[in-house]
């Protein structure tokens, strides 16, 4: 019996390591459904591509114009993500870039997210940038800091750097800014729910939730 003890002990630790690693992996993987670039184009009826989280045929569309360096936007991002989880299939989120010139690093953050998007990691970068807003906001060399985010997300770094400085990524940000101007957006966060702008006093985590709850209840599912 004693002969098998080391084998049993090593096997137990090996299995324990695999199980705990798998459980941790599952617990940390994002569960919010996101659309691929192709699905997003389909969801927007081919008119334009956009970053969409949730089901493409959801009855309620929450369109957010955000600035990654704006603290209220970061505060709202968790609530917005939670909406997609709680109303799976009924609510979809569209994120639009609207980096304000008053925020020194907002434009770079937008470029970083868009460059990550070209490797299908827009939402992971979006969440990371918002979550760590206080960490990078005061960094002197924010470009290299976002590169470390890209590395953390497992992106192809060389491609990321090339994309970040490309006209394609700049055009993505500019397109969103044009749409913002067209809709009369001047500040962030600005959110539209099914095309109607959410009043400013509802743009607080608790109130936004209540506002969307009301819209979902009054909108028949597709």
């Amino acid at each position: 019996m004693r002969r098998f003890l080391p084998f049993a002990l090593v096997a137990c630790v090996g299995v324990g390591a695999l199980v705990s690693g798998t459980l941790l992996y599952r617990a940390k993987m994002p569960v919010v459904p996101t659309l691929t670039k192709e699905q997003s184009i389909l969801a927007m009826n081919g008119a334009e591509s956009a970053h969409i989280r949730g089901e493409r045929d959801a009855a309620v569309t929450v369109e957010e114009f955000g600035d990654f360096q704006c603290p209220p936007c970061a505060d709202l991002s968790d609530v917005v993500n939670q909406l997609v989880k709680d109303y799976r299939g009924r609510v979809r989120i569209i994120f639009r870039e609207f980096p304000l010139t008053t925020h020194a690093h907002a434009h770079q953050a937008a470029l970083a997210a868009e460059a990550a998007g070209l490797q299908d990691r827009f939402w992971q970068m979006h969440d990371l940038i918002y979550r760590e807003q206080s960490t990078w906001s005061h960094e002197a060399d924010v470009r290299s800091f976002f590169e470390s985010f890209a590395g953390t997300l497992g992106l192809d770094l060389e491609r990321y750097k090339k994309d970040r400085d490309s006209d394609q990524v700049q055009a993505r940000v500019t397109d969103d800014e044009k749409r913002a101007v067209k809709l009369g957006v001047t500040n962030t966060p600005t959110i539209f729910v099914n095309g109607i702008e959410v009043p400013r006093d509802s743009l607080r985590p608790d109130r936004l939730r209540a506002y969307v709850d009301q819209v979902v209840k009054s909108t028949p599912a597709h």
Partner: protein, 136 residues
């Protein structure tokens, strides 16, 4: 002594598993607002051919744990291999510390914890009696 090595290897294994999962999911809450942590874990040195270095570390700690268990039970081959395995980990740790100190100019607390575990294992490997040559 080998029991102590087992415990240290288990601590290193837990740390390495945590970092591996972090690398695979892109989850970074554990950095706790430390920019250095991102600089290290997001650098090109954090992966070897696409494989997270932490994953290799987890495999190494598991290997050393296994060797320590078998060595404690008197398996001669394990007694002989244990110091070599620890030496390999020690050299890899020196390289990673060099990269953090002189290339990235940033330290990751989880990597330092792992380095401490490896140094302790190296200390134990030195303190353990040398295995006698076969046939004696």
């Amino acid at each position: 002594m080998y029991t102590l090595a087992e415990l240290i290897a288990l601590a290193g294994l837990a740390d390495a598993i945590y970092l591996t999962v972090q690398a695979l999911t892109g989850e970074t809450l554990t950095c706790g607002g430390s920019p250095d942590c991102f600089r290290v874990l997001g650098s090109a040195y954090a992966r070897v051919a696409g494989v997270p270095v932490a994953g290799l570390g987890a495999a190494a700690y598991f290997g050393v744990f296994g060797l320590a268990v078998f060595a404690a039970c008197g398996y001669r081959r394990a007694v002989q291999l244990f110091p070599w395995a620890v030496t390999g980990m020690f050299l890899a740790t020196l390289w990673l510390l060099f990269v953090q100190a002189f290339v990235l100019h940033a330290f990751c607390r989880y990597c330092l914890f792992s380095a401490a575990a490896t140094f302790l294992l190296a200390g134990l490997a030195v303190a353990l009696p040398r295995p006698s040559p076969p046939g004696l």
